[in-house]
Amino acid sequence: MLLFSIFLLPLIGALILSLIKINHKSIYLKFISLFFAVLPFLLSIVACIEFDYNNADFQFVSYPIKNVGIGIDGISLLFLLLTTFLFVICILYNCKMSYTTLKAYMALFLLLESFVVGFFVSLNAISFYVFFEAVLIPMFFIIGIWGGKQRIYATFKLFLYTLTGSLLFLLGLVYIYSVFGTFSIQKLATLVPSLDLEVQSLLWIAFFISFAIKVPMFPFHTWLPDAHVQSPTSGSVILAGLLIKMGGYGFLRFSIPMLPQASLYFSNFVVVLSIIAVIYASLVAFAQDDIKKLIAYSSIAHMGIVTAGLFSFCEEGVLGSIFQMISHGLISAALFLCVGMLYTRTGTLEIAKYFGIVNTMPKFGFMFILFSMASIGLPGTSGFAGEFLAMVGMFKSIGFFTGFIALGTILSAAYMLNLCKQIIWGVSYSKLLNNRLDSIEFSVLILLAVFVILLGFYPTLALNYLKPCMANLLVKYNAL
């Protein structure tokens, strides 16, 4: 019931918002939306406390509809926490917005929250698929209505790209169902590995295309920069923080446990694509003159490390990848919020237009530097632990080639430091930027910073929950 109420509360909030008549300036509007975002977060903390982290099985399992189960294990618990937390941040930040259509904006975010929560707690492949695709509907409107100049192109691209992939995923699921007669993810994880390599490979390709588009991996990444640049700030936060994690989560729930032989067969292919992604995206990020685009490309590079770690099939690699997804969720959310704060002040995202921000906005400068360092993976921030573990895992599986991934992290230091140099440092400063962070903006960033640093010093906080699941996940690989 706990999980179901976490799923239902934002949905109820969205319904209430869409039914009542309320002025967009009204404090009650903000109060209601915040209430329905904070309550799920508190409930997911309750879930976190009551969770037995020595147990690798799914917990809190219940069946709201017959045969459609929900439940969480350590992996989904972390994603659930990240989801509810980021939505609190987003709704809080949205309270600053002065849209006349704020009510619809808030309602769409609550709807999106409900879908994302539903995705991470699904134990049934069909509900998993339904939420995987349903998140596109609110996202389509969020980008299409409140986005930038090229928003329509961007939102269509996002929608159609992801739809193509997910329909292939659907075909794969239907095929699995026609063989085994069940949609339960737990049962499938034990049944599907019995398929022979040829069938597994075809299924793997169908799943891979769909998840790789969502992640996004190298040849399928082109929707991401467009979507990010055109999306409103909170939309970017959710896109980078959660939606692209859905692809990684899909690998963890479907490709890796269900198709071990095919995953092993294709692992080099994935690693090569990841290496290309890391290096190529980092180089492209270096050449950007738009801050948001730069951070979008850096997301692609960081997700490249995640996929390479996942397909190393050893405990450290997978742990590191999951940790990296969580940490990247926080860091990229923070960076996109920072960018959004700049944009609301000046209306431009061109790097060349900014210089010496630290002189007028010292708190902002501090925060931006902090999150940039976290993004580079400086020890003491959450970015470090994830990258480090992932690379340890990669060393075990691909050995020497990890060097290419490491090269990517050096490049990431290069473009992030360069960005900081250009916009934060400098003596002279632009007159445009003389209003400091207000309380909402500051508290949003502080909240994120606390978690980034906390996870940096105590990565075990998260790793404790993940470790028991690893044995289950990788048991088939140890045998192969």
């Binding site: 069909i126 349903a134 389509f140 299409g144 739809l163 329909l167 659907l170 075909l171 026609s178």
Partner: protein, 461 residues
């Protein structure tokens, strides 16, 4: 005696003839209302008199069983919805309009129960001729006249082909009755003449269903015909012909599957692709819906082509959901002028009428098959039955087509929500609004009953 057993049909035709006479003295609105009432009564009689046993009437010209009765119920309910749209809309056509709809409905309910080539052809022509007149009913509009003429000439040609096919069938088998035809085909070798005859009959059916490569008339006729007629075209005849085709293939001509299956497969693959690409750049909503209906019938054909119980069940489910969704969309369109159904007309309703826009986008998303809406459930069950029978490549084609077709549905939503509002404001009658919202609510909540739907399907399959 036989006339008692076909009481719904008898009542339907007598009431339409009486209404035709009454039309001279009563005003148009009353006739429309009476037509609606008569159809409702026909449906009620049908539901009361439906029996489970199979009976043959009039020297086996007609056959009645529960499936046929339910198909007739579906057609009549569609007809009732169309007549409801007519009553609620602002249009004031001549009184023959609703009576022609009644005649067409009578043709359709006889069509699905036809058990011989003769009765089938008569019912088919009764339906078609009423539809020709309906298509050109706006005789002051050039588009409508074009639609009528085009529909009539092409349709007459396809009827000729069908009649020729029937004569071939008769010539090679000596039978006109479906049951006897079926037993003849089982006991004798199937010659080329029979195959040709069968294919020609199928061509006639496919033409009326607007399946590629017999789809050319559809966009023009859909665009030119009065909007209510377009709504009628895209629902009731499709229901009648698809249910008839299912009956023909699964109950009557069981052993010609191997000849028909490749035709169905290619035709469905072509239809979904052509409809997806054809609709991409349409600016007129009715034209666009014409292409989209080609695609939807293509989906239905895909699941018919596997000739399993699961396939026909998912085809029927798809048909019902498609009809509900189309009626919902058309109930918004009927309040726009007949010749002015540009997509641009919808611009800005996201801001002006957010609730209407919400319902419309639910319907559009459902048509494009986005979960958790009903259209997704329908497409999903088709994929399931296709993959269960091993038609992976056809399901891949369907996937590609649905992604492409998603684009033009999204495009309509783009106009509704993202474009600047156009100046002309349209009055939207409450009754029509209720139909739209009911259709969208059905689409929204259907997934809650997904388990029941599946158990329903699995029980039968």
């Amino acid at each position: 005696m036989n006339y008692i057993q076909i009481l719904p049909e008898t009542f339907s035709i007598i009431s339409s003839l009486v209404l035709l006479l009454l039309g001279i003295i009563l005003n148009r609105r009353t006739i429309n209302l009476l037509a609606l009432g008569c159809t409702v009564i026909t449906l009620i009689i049908l539901i009361i008199s439906a029996e489970n046993n199979e009976i043959f009437l009039f020297n086996s010209l007609l056959k009645l069983n529960l499936y046929i009765r339910s198909a007739q119920g579906l057609i009549l309910s569609t007809g009732i919805l169309i007549l409801l749209l007519l009553n609620l809309s602002k249009y004031d056509y001549k009184y023959e309009f609703s009576i022609l709809i009644l005649f067409a409905l009578f043709g359709m309910i006889t069509l699905v129960s036809a058990n011989s080539l003769i009765s089938f052809y008569l019912a088919f022509e009764l339906m078609s001729i009423s539809l020709y007149v309906l298509a050109s009913f706006n005789k002051d509009s050039a588009y409508s006249c074009e639609a009528g003429v085009k529909y009539f000439t092409l349709s007459a040609l396809s009827s000729c082909i069908m009649l020729y096919g029937m004569s071939l069938l008769y010539g090679y088998t000596g039978q006109v009755n479906f049951s006897e035809l079926s037993s003849f085909l089982q006991n004798h070798q199937i010659t080329y003449g029979i195959v040709f005859g069968l294919v020609f009959v199928l061509i006639g059916l496919c033409f009326k269903l607007a399946i590629v490569p017999f789809h050319m008339w559809a966009p023009d006729v859909y665009q030119g015909a009065p909007t209510i007629v377009t709504a009628f075209f895209s629902t009731a005849p499709k229901a009648a012909l698809v249910t008839f085709l299912i009956r023909l293939m699964n109950e009557e001509l069981v052993n010609v599957k191997s000849y028909v299956q490749p035709i169905f497969l290619y035709v469905s693959a072509l239809s979904v692709l052509i409809s997806a690409f054809g609709a991409l750049h349409q600016q007129n909503l009715k034209r666009l819906l014409a292409y989209s209906s080609i695609g939807h019938i293509g989906f239905i054909f895909a699941s018919l082509s596997i000739f399993t119980q699961a396939g026909t069940d998912s085809a029927l489910m798809y048909l019902v959901i498609y009809i509900i969704t189309s009626i919902g969309l058309f109930s918004y369109l009927v309040q726009i002028d007949d010749d002015d159904c540009d997509i641009a007309n919808l611009s800005g309703i996201g801001k002006k009428h957010p609730i209407v826009a919400f319902h419309l986008s639910v319907l559009l998303l459902s048509m494009s098959g986005i979960p958790p809406l009903a259209g997704f459930i329908a497409k999903f069950s088709i994929f399931k039955s296709l993959i269960n029978s091993g038609f992976i490549s056809l399901s891949l084609i369907l996937v590609i087509a649905s992604v492409i077709s998603c684009y033009y549905y999204l495009n309509i939503m783009k106009v509704m929500y993202f474009d600047k509002a156009s100046g002309n404001k349209v009055a939207y009658p409450k009754g029509l609004f209720i139909i739209t919202s009911l259709a969208s609510l059905i689409n929204l909540v259907l997934f809650l009953y997904i388990k029941d739907l599946y158990s329903l399907i699995e029980l039968k399959g």
